[in-house]
């Protein structure tokens, strides 16, 4: 095998970024507005009743969860649309007939989707600053969680974009799976605020580990050990990679 074909990857990556940039205004405006709304509704309204969670002001407590919420939904929708669109428009033939390896195709698409959601994650982080002061205890680990989550969920989006055979399905998964899991994943509360039975159920929700680990990197508090969080996200990443590998090997929905 030849070395990585950087020119091809760069071309694909930049074209995908350019596609995102065409809609950059709505890409940025909508998360900024929704983040602000979350702060108004959850921070201001509920925060007056719940003044502190684990010694952190409620407003600051929800910041990591909100960023995760944005990161997950944006990663999935960017990446799924990114690969679904050429399938839908017919231009996928060009990718498949180019002298590119599967790895290069995935790096191009998933890299661009993850980059965009990371940019939005940072924007949300900055927006949140307008509402609440927060600290970041472990900035390096925060970056690691941020990148791993963006990549993992962009891979998931990529898989969805290949699996979906219509726009409905493309929107179904984010709507029916990602959003509920995020809301129930400890974004807006600490899971030890729940009754014991629901705590146990919640631990089956993968998003809990992401939010918990990410919040730990901010304030040093977590529902589960940060190492468990890291382990879980690496596990999700491996599963997603294995599925993408299988898709290309079998030609599923790409090559009859």
């Amino acid at each position: 095998m030849k070395r990585l074909n950087l020119q091809s990857v760069k071309t694909l990556y930049l074209a995908e970024m350019a596609r995102s940039m065409r809609t950059i205004l709505q890409s940025i405006v909508s998360p900024v507005i929704s983040t602000s709304l979350y702060f108004v509704v959850f921070g201001a309204a509920i925060g007056t009743r719940i003044s502190e969670v684990d010694g952190i002001s409620y407003g600051a407590f929800i910041v990591p969860g909100l960023i995760m919420l944005m990161l997950l939904t944006q990663s999935v929708s960017n990446a799924s649309f990114g690969i679904f669109f050429p399938r839908f428009s017919g231009s996928i033939y060009e990718i498949l007939s180019a002298p590119m390896s599967y790895v290069e195709v995935v790096v191009g698409y998933v890299g661009a989707a993850a980059t965009k959601s990371l940019i939005l994650g940072v924007i949300v982080l900055v927006t949140a600053r307008l509402f609440v002061p927060y600290s970041i205890d472990h900035p390096l680990m925060m970056a690691v969680f941020l990148v791993l989550t963006a990549v993992t969920f962009s891979l998931l989006g990529f898989i969805i974009g290949i699996w979906a055979d219509g726009f409905e399905k493309l929107q179904l998964v984010p709507l029916l799976v990602i959003t509920p899991l995020t809301f129930l994943g400890g974004t807006f509360y600490s899971i030890d605020m729940l009754p014991p039975f629901w705590q146990a159920v919640t631990l089956a929700n993968p998003v809990v580990y992401l939010v918990s680990g990410f919040r730990w990197s901010f304030y040093g508090i977590s529902d589960v050990s940060p190492l468990v969080s890291l382990g879980m996200i690496l596990l999700f990443l491996s599963v997603a990679l294995a599925m993408v590998g299988w898709i290309f090997k079998s030609g599923y929905r790409l090559k009859p």
């Binding site: 074909n5 071309t11 428009s89 231009s91 060009e94 498949l96 007939s97 002298p99 090559k255």
Partner: protein, 309 residues
């Protein structure tokens, strides 16, 4: 340039679209893959270009196996698909440059400009694809395929649904490419197109290559000629002295049909002999015309021939 060996393709629904295809494409030629809709033309091209996995057999592009050595094989190939794509928002320039980059080639604005000019797309370089007509979009697809200077160009039904004028222009472009040394494989179900364009023709039917021939040889070998003679007085039977010419009566005795092929032209019967014999028996010829069967007839006769058991 391209060797296809024992290639078969059975789709997941069990349909066998290619049956043990063997084919060699020579460097620098224009090869037409001719066959009715559903014959397997697109499938064959798709396997060669890496869009469809073969069930059996292999493909070599300039000696490179298109699966094991796909990078080398694919980088030689440009593909113009049958269906128009509908990416709407990119500009002509961007999409053509994108194609070049995807093939791992460094930016080369001069080359892109030359490609766009040769396809009369230069004026439209800043137009978005949604602003272009169907014919223009097809040219953009050709430009994309040429952006990385391929040695082999596949054109899948390049002139389907294209008006006559544009078709002529397209043919000129294809000939120009061949003159630059590009090997061209085009598929078509228009017989005239194969006849007009191709150096060699391969006929594909139900996934099988039924024949591959030099276009002229094919015409010569299978093309039959007919001479129809209109006579003054209807004949009830053929005069005995004309028996040697293999004539047939037609049009209730008003016409005589003389068919000859390449071999018979050199044999005993000649047209001058026939005319002399007609004169001798007093049959007066009022009018005559000849007909040479085109590939269309050959094509129909081939298909019928194979269909009957």
């Amino acid at each position: 340039m391209i060797r296809v060996e024992g290639l078969s393709k059975t789709f997941s629904d069990g349909f066998q679209a290619l049956v043990d295809v063997d084919l060699t494409i020579q460097r620098g030629e224009i090869f037409a893959l001719l066959g009715p809709n559903g014959a397997g033309k697109t499938t064959l091209i798709s396997v060669i270009c890496g869009l469809v996995n073969a069930s059996r057999g292999r493909v070599l592009v300039d000696g490179h196996d298109n699966v094991r050595d796909y990078r080398a094989a694919r980088s030689l190939i440009g593909l113009v698909p049958q269906e128009l794509t509908n990416e709407a928002f990119t500009t002509v320039w961007d999409t053509v440059s994108f194609s070049r980059g995807l093939f791992g080639k460094p930016k080369d604005p001069a080359h892109i400009e030359q490609v766009l000019r040769s396809l009369t797309l230069w004026e439209k370089r800043n137009s978005r694809l949604l602003e272009l007509s169907g014919g223009m979009k097809r040219r953009v697809l050709i430009a994309k395929a040429l952006s990385h200077a391929p040695q082999v160009l596949f054109l899948d039904e390049p002139t389907a649904g294209v008006d006559v004028e544009l078709r002529r222009e397209m043919w000129e472009v294809v000939r120009g490419l061949r003159d630059q040394g590009v090997t061209i494989i085009l598929t078509t179900h228009y017989i005239e197109e194969a006849e007009e364009m191709a150096d060699r023709i391969g006929v594909i039917r139900r996934g099988e290559i039924v024949l591959v021939e030099n276009t002229h040889a094919l015409m010569h070998k299978l093309g039959s000629k007919e001479l129809t003679l209109q006579v003054d007085e209807p004949l009830e039977a053929l005069p005995e002295s004309l028996a040697g010419h293999g004539l047939a009566l037609a049009d209730e005795g008003h016409a005589l049909v003389y068919s000859y092929d390449a071999a018979r032209q050199e044999g005993g019967s000649t047209i001058s002999g026939l005319l002399a014999d007609l004169e001798a028996v007093g049959v007066r010829v009022k009018d005559l015309h000849t007909r040479q069967s085109s590939l269309e007839d050959i094509f129909v006769s081939l298909v019928q021939e194979r269909r009957s058991p």
